[in-house]
């Protein structure tokens, strides 16, 4: 039966992939015939979402085991693909290559962290969780650490980490919809919401699994296509992952040339002067704010008297005056940010492949510490994110769970080996063709993405040419704009948009399901109403899905932070809360309830404390002001887990040793987990 199912699935998905390729070819042909780009964008989004919806409807289910763990009969290969799609989110698809583009070697922390974490999953968790074989991660915590206290802490951390993560996905969807279909960002967000609900609402894990396999295929084709074409163009070898070393050398040569051009240095000096001016103004607050207001008023009045002054200038000045900070406190924040932005542009850029660059020995060692701690947090977080771990509940056996991790990582590597190549090729194109060209004749993509506020240019030295320092790219742009940057047909852009959408939707589905699973299964069914009927449990679960999804969309519409840092927070949260308790739960029989609960709370609290205090200076809606602090050892807020995880381990061990050992049934459970034989 297992084999027959596998064969049938392979047939379906082969046909599906073929169909998708035909769709791309057809659209490419239509584009040649003059189909407008906007229609191509619509076609891609419409067709792919229809496919997901169709799979979602076909896999609808009212069976609890099907709804939560897809009936535990997903073959290793397909579970690997589904995990890949579940895993590779908007952050991997959109954000990763862009971060690599902007920060070069430093960005590799994400590449290593998000793949090396699977070693921890494979060796420390997946087989044992499969042996345990329930529905959620809090289920495991409750069974191992006897009772609802551990379960509730687990639910809280699951919801928190997954929610931060899901907001980032929906934000990504909004971005794609607003650029490629021309919808307003907020409307795009709610469109994404509809796309997500269509897959997960009816069929739960079963529907999500089979849509995720479909989404994996689309996203990987979409990710590979532009960079392969670009590689063909630049090196005439269609294997970007293998040949980008050669391009990296060319980039290095271009960098050495561009970084020290006189105009480039001039532009950087001007940004430095601007930063200094802001610093001086901040120093003289509040007097400087009054002066600034006065200066603008005088400038406006002078222009009003002069009949020849262009109206546009007057309007611009008036807007500047209107947008002046309201009080000294606000001015300090706003000007501080402006100063920071100017400083970033004033800094001499680093060579792409240079590891831990910096002007001083301290800066270099801070870069190294941040690299290593971020890798650590991402790896531990990978091995603790509930939406990934539950995927290993869906395989038929422990053996399949082990194999499935191998497949997962192979499918994930397809993208992660390509991302660094993406960044290098994009950098080559931009340095070669965009930098130092005339601002009046810049390619169209700069204006198109500029409208969304993701690309900005400024001719600070007034020479009519675009210096590298004058170009600011949001990392999220690189992948989405690469086809345009490379001058590829629009159909490739549409394909990339469809891929990014698949990545964001698939992850959002998995996350939403995990959140609602934790709430409906763990809180409602296990704690509030254990006698609830199966049907009623699914009703609760589906209603919660709706509520959580809408809340996430509302958050995303606020455009909170860049995708990548939001996601990194989720990893630190999950890592600190779950990793110590899960690993010790399997490998240390002595770990007990008191220790686990205390350790999870302590690890989580430590992480949140550090994250909030380093990242935010004020949280107005909580009435908190002036809570910012200097980071410890220069570690950034994204790596907060590096403090939380050790605290979690230490507290579990110390508290467990101070309190009585767990009862015999728990020790028997641990014995059972350690042997695949039932």
């Amino acid at each position: 039966m297992g084999r027959r199912l596998g064969d049938r699935l392979r047939g379906y998905y082969l046909a599906y992939t073929g169909g998708f390729v035909v769709l791309i070819a057809a659209l490419a042909l239509l584009e040649r015939q003059g189909m407008p780009p906007r229609w191509i964008g619509y076609a891609f989004l419409f067709f792919t979402i229809m496919i997901y919806a169709a799979i979602g409807v076909l896999s609808r289910t009212a069976n609890v085991s099907e709804y939560y763990v897809a009936g535990r009969r997903v073959p290793a290969v397909f579970n690997g693909m589904a995990t890949g799609a579940d895993w590779m989110s908007a952050a991997s698809f959109i954000g990763l290559a862009g971060t690599l583009y902007l920060s070069g070697y430093q960005g590799l922390a994400y590449v290593m962290g998000w793949t090396g974490g699977y070693v921890l999953v494979a060796l420390l968790l997946a087989p044992y969780l499969r042996k345990f074989g329930q529905y959620t991660i809090p289920d495991f915590l409750a069974a191992r650490y006897g009772g609802n206290a551990a379960r509730l802490v687990g639910v809280f951390a699951t919801v928190l980490a997954s929610f931060v993560y899901v907001v980032a996905q929906i934000y990504g969807v909004g971005l794609i919809a607003s650029r490629f279909v021309g919808l307003q960002f907020e409307i795009g967000v709610f469109l994404g919401l509809a796309g997500i609900l269509v897959c997960s609402f009816l069929g739960g894990m079963r529907a999500v699994t089979w849509t995720q396999v479909a989404q994996y295929i689309i996203l990987i084709v979409a990710y590979m296509a532009p960079v392969t074409l670009l590689s063909m163009k630049v090196t005439s070898v269609p294997l970007p992952q293998a040949v980008y070393g050669e391009v990296l050398e060319k980039v290095r040569a271009l960098e050495s040339e561009i970084f020290h051009l006189p105009a480039e240095e001039e532009a950087r000096r001007r940004y430095q002067a601007r930063a200094d001016a802001y610093a001086e103004r901040i120093e003289r607050l509040p007097a400087s704010l009054v002066e600034e207001k006065q200066r603008l008023s005088e400038a406006i009045n002078a222009r009003k008297l002069d009949a020849n002054a262009p109206m546009r200038e007057v309007l611009a000045l008036e807007r500047q005056r209107r947008e002046l900070p309201a009080d000294a406190e606000q001015a300090r924040i706003r000007w501080g940010e402006a100063r920071q932005a100017a400083l970033e542009r004033a800094a001499t850029p680093n060579h792409h492949a240079d590891a831990f660059p910096g002007a001083s020995e301290e800066a270099r060692s801070a870069a190294r510490i941040n690299f290593l701690t971020l890798v650590f947090c991402l790896m531990v977080g990978t091995a603790a994110l509930p939406h990934i771990l539950v995927r290993y509940y869906t395989t038929p056996s422990v053996r399949e769970a082990r194999n499935s991790v191998v497949w997962s990582l192979l499918f994930i590597l397809a993208l992660y080996l390509t991302a660094p190549a993406y960044a290098v090729f994009a950098k080559y194109e931009i340095y070669q063709h965009v930098v130092n060209s005339e601002i009046a004749s810049l390619p169209g993509w700069i204006a198109a993405w500029g409208k969304l506020g993701l690309v900005s240019i400024e001719d600070i030295n007034g020479d009519g040419l675009l210096q590298l320092a004058e170009l600011t790219l949001n990392p999220d742009v690189i992948v989405l704009a690469t086809p345009e940057i490379a001058g590829l047909p629009y159909v490739v852009s549409g394909l990339v948009a469809a891929g990014a959408l698949a990545a964001a939707l698939s992850t959002a589905d998995g996350l939403l399901l995990t959140i609602t699973g934790a709430l409906s299964h763990d809180v409602y069914y296990k704690i509030i109403r254990p006698q609830a009927s199966t049907q009623w449990r699914l009703v609760i679960s589906k209603s919660l899905l709706l509520v959580v999804a809408v809340m996430a969309a509302l958050f995303a519409a606020q455009k909170p932070a860049t995708i990548l840092s939001m996601v990194a927070w989720a990893f630190s949260i999950a890592g600190a809360a779950f990793f110590p308790a899960l690993v010790l739960g399997i490998f240390w029989k002595r770990a007990n309830k008191q220790g686990a609960v205390a350790g999870m709370v302590a690890g989580l609290a430590m992480t949140l404390y550090y994250m909030v205090r380093v990242q935010f200076h004020d949280i107005p809606w909580l009435g908190l002001h002036g809570i910012g602090m200097e980071p410890w050892l220069e570690v950034q807020s994204t790596s907060a887990g590096v403090w939380g995880v050790p605290v979690g381990f230490a507290v579990i061990i110390v508290v467990s040793l101070l309190t009585p050992p767990p009862p015999p049934p728990v020790r028997a459970l641990v014995e059972r987990l350690r042997s695949p034989h039932s």
């Binding site: 039966m1 070697y105 070693v119 990296l248 492949a353 422990v398 990582l409 695949p676 034989h677």
Partner: protein
């Protein structure tokens, strides 16, 4: 009694292979990254070695580790007769 001893031996071999593989993982990840600047002095096919390790080398080692673990453990299960019956 026999089964307890056997179970313990199985578990110890599992721990041994897990520990060994985690050591490799640690070296490839943290030791190699720590010395990335020094490794970058070596350039192969245009790739500075430190950069290459982060971008591809470490990743390939990770797959190798997981693949080896799955193969080793699946064999160990059979050797000790603890493999779970495939359902269905």
């Amino acid at each position: 009694m026999e089964s307890t001893r056997k179970r313990l031996a199985y578990w110890h071999r599992n721990l041994a292979v897990t520990a060994a593989l985690l050591c490799i993982w640690f070296v490839v990840t943290f030791v190699a990254s720590f010395y990335a600047r020094e490794l970058n002095a070596v350039v192969i096919f245009g790739f500075p070695l430190g950069f290459y390790m982060g971008a591809q080398g470490a990743l390939l080692v990770y797959v190798a580790i997981i693949w080896f673990y799955a193969r080793y453990m699946n064999r160990l299960d059979r050797e000790y007769g603890v493999q779970d019956e495939e359902e269905e």
